[in-house]
């Protein structure tokens, strides 16, 4: 007897509200429909009512996890309109914060993923590693979330003593190499819940237009840091990570190896931090008439911003397309034919961020 079953919007697996309505036949999922929009805040409209300084504070709150990505991408768009080139040191600092943010986001995900498959000891280990990243971010920016580092024309805060953060990076690489990666890839409990689960083939990945680690785990080698290098990625030599399998395990592995690459990027950026000013402009920004589209690689994939200016005190339009917005619908393709019990880890494997989807 087929039956339908609503999961959410108060979600057993995630802290944010979204709903998956599944049609089941016994234990097996026939089809699923995803609904989002339970925490819509109208940030795009609000952004048209705030001046160019205030709007950065607002945009930073699009997402609680990748707050820096959004503020940074918005600033890059405004800089493109105004024709401002940020100083080399500012570009390096933005890269460091962006990669630290990716580390903290991926570690958060790995912890939540471990929790979803009932692996609490792994969750604890992952989150204790994540504290290293959070402490580093706090020491640099003053805050654990919403770092407030970006301004139009550069960054607000310096990294005066880059060498200070290297020991934390070493401890992090050690923790990843000795505990997190081996446990996810060798532990029979973890493998039983992830291998072959929630497959998304390469063709389906193209069809559903997924981005970020979800696409790279299905063999699509797309990454804005490589395809259209921005900030200091070209100078630091970025290499993307892909896996052909397209299952939950592949997504775990892609994120784990990306963390290793992020640590390398951060270390190199810290060691090669160029001297120079932090901002290209002084005082409050003035943005001339114009428009710009900017893509950056957020932890969950490509973030896209369209910003238009009519030369006034506020932006004329800010269009935000977040990576989760395109990744979440692909859950429908992943769960079809899977047991109901795997629904929560399959959803979690997309790393859905409802905050930015409902921005």
């Amino acid at each position: 007897m087929p039956y339908s079953f609503p999961l959410g919007p108060y979600h057993p697996a995630l802290e944010e509200p979204f709903k998956v309505k599944v049609q089941c036949r016994g234990e097996v999922i026939d089809s699923a429909t995803v609904e989002v929009g339970f925490s819509f805040r109208g940030i795009e409209l609000l952004a048209q009512k705030r001046n160019w300084v205030e709007v950065i504070t607002l945009i930073e709150r699009v997402c609680g996890i990748c707050s820096n990505t959004h503020a940074m991408t918005f600033c890059m768009a405004a800089e493109t309109i105004a024709g401002i080139e940020i100083p080399k040191r500012a570009a390096h600092i933005r890269t460091i914060i962006a990669e630290l943010e990716r580390l903290h986001s991926h570690l958060l995900w790995a912890g939540v993923g471990a929790e979803d498959i009932g692996f609490h000891s792994l969750f604890m280990e992952v989150f204790s590693l994540r504290e290293l990243v959070m402490d580093t971010l706090e020491a640099i920016s003053g805050n654990r979330v919403n770092y407030g580092m970006n301004c139009i024309g550069g960054v607000h805060r310096d990294i005066p003593d880059p060498m200070r953060y290297l020991p934390a990076l070493d401890a992090l690489s050690k923790g990843l190499a000795e505990i997190v990666i081996p446990t996810f890839t060798e532990n029979p409990t973890a493998l039983a819940r992830t291998r072959g689960v929630g497959r998304l083939s390469r063709e389906q990945a193209v069809e559903w237009a997924v981005v970020g680690p979800v696409a790279r785990a299905s063999g699509l080698d797309i990454d804005v840091r490589k395809d259209q290098p921005y900030l200091s990625y070209a100078a630091l030599g970025f290499e993307s990570v892909t896996r052909p399998e397209g299952d939950v395990l592949a997504r775990v592995v892609v994120r784990a190896l990306e963390m290793v690459e992020s640590i390398r990027l951060i270390r190199e950026a810290l060691l090669s931090l160029p001297a120079g000013p932090l901002r290209a402009t002084e005082g409050l920004p003035e943005i001339p008439v114009g428009e710009a589209t900017i893509r950056t690689e957020a932890p969950r994939g490509e973030a896209f911003y369209y910003v238009a200016s009519e030369g006034g005190a506020t932006p004329a339009r800010v269009k935000i397309r977040t990576p989760s917005f395109v990744n979440i619908p692909a859950i429908e393709a992943m769960v079809t034919g899977q047991p109901l019990a795997d629904l929560s880890i399959i959803q979690a494997s997309v790393d859905p961020c409802i905050s930015c989807t409902d921005r």
Partner: protein, 176 residues
């Protein structure tokens, strides 16, 4: 096996939950409790301009004072007010901010009253500039210290004119 080894290793190690003494130092860039120094404030409004959640506002008692208001329930501790204040009247210190309730409810409210002063030349009430700002902008010309912005402009143009036509400047001086 990696997990088993880790768990056994953890049994032999002390707890990883941090005691207050092991907490990382409060970073120097931490943005905590907000303080405002009325003696430095010129009521220019820059802080309110950059404050996205509108935690800062002004009220006026015309001719007497301008009040600077801050409500902690709306503050997001972005630090932009402190960074953009031209006279460094605002600071976000290392102390933890006091309790924050809902954005609409009660919580810490600060009010600083910036008293207006009569201009020593024309008598118009104006916000006095901090001494340091006066010294930097106009030098320490004693007579001009208590001038309102209009009279300062007048004095500046009079100085400029007297540099070219000394007599004309004299005349203007008597006219007023």
């Amino acid at each position: 096996m990696a997990m088993l080894k880790t768990i056994l290793g953890n049994l032999l190690r002390p707890s990883r939950t941090r005691a207050p003494a092991d907490m990382p130092d409060v970073p120097t860039v931490y943005r905590g409790a907000l303080a405002h120094d009325a003696a430095r404030c010129t009521a220019c409004g820059t802080c309110a301009f950059v404050c996205a959640p509108k935690a800062i506002s002004f009220t006026q008692d015309p001719g007497v004072s301008v009040s600077w208001h801050f409500f902690i329930g709306q503050c997001s501790f972005c630090g932009l007010c402190a960074q953009n204040c031209p006279t460094q009247a605002i600071s976000l210190d290392a102390e933890v901010p006091t309790g924050m309730n809902s954005a609409a409810g009660d919580g810490l409210r600060l009010e600083s009253i910036v008293r207006l002063q009569p201009c020593t030349r024309c008598g118009a009430a104006h916000v006095p500039l901090p001494d340091a700002a006066i010294a930097a902008l106009w030098g320490v010309e004693e007579a001009e210290r208590g001038y309102c912005p209009d009279c300062r402009r007048w004095a500046a143009s009079a100085r400029l004119r007297s540099a070219f036509i000394p007599a004309a400047a004299e005349e203007v001086h008597h006219e007023r």
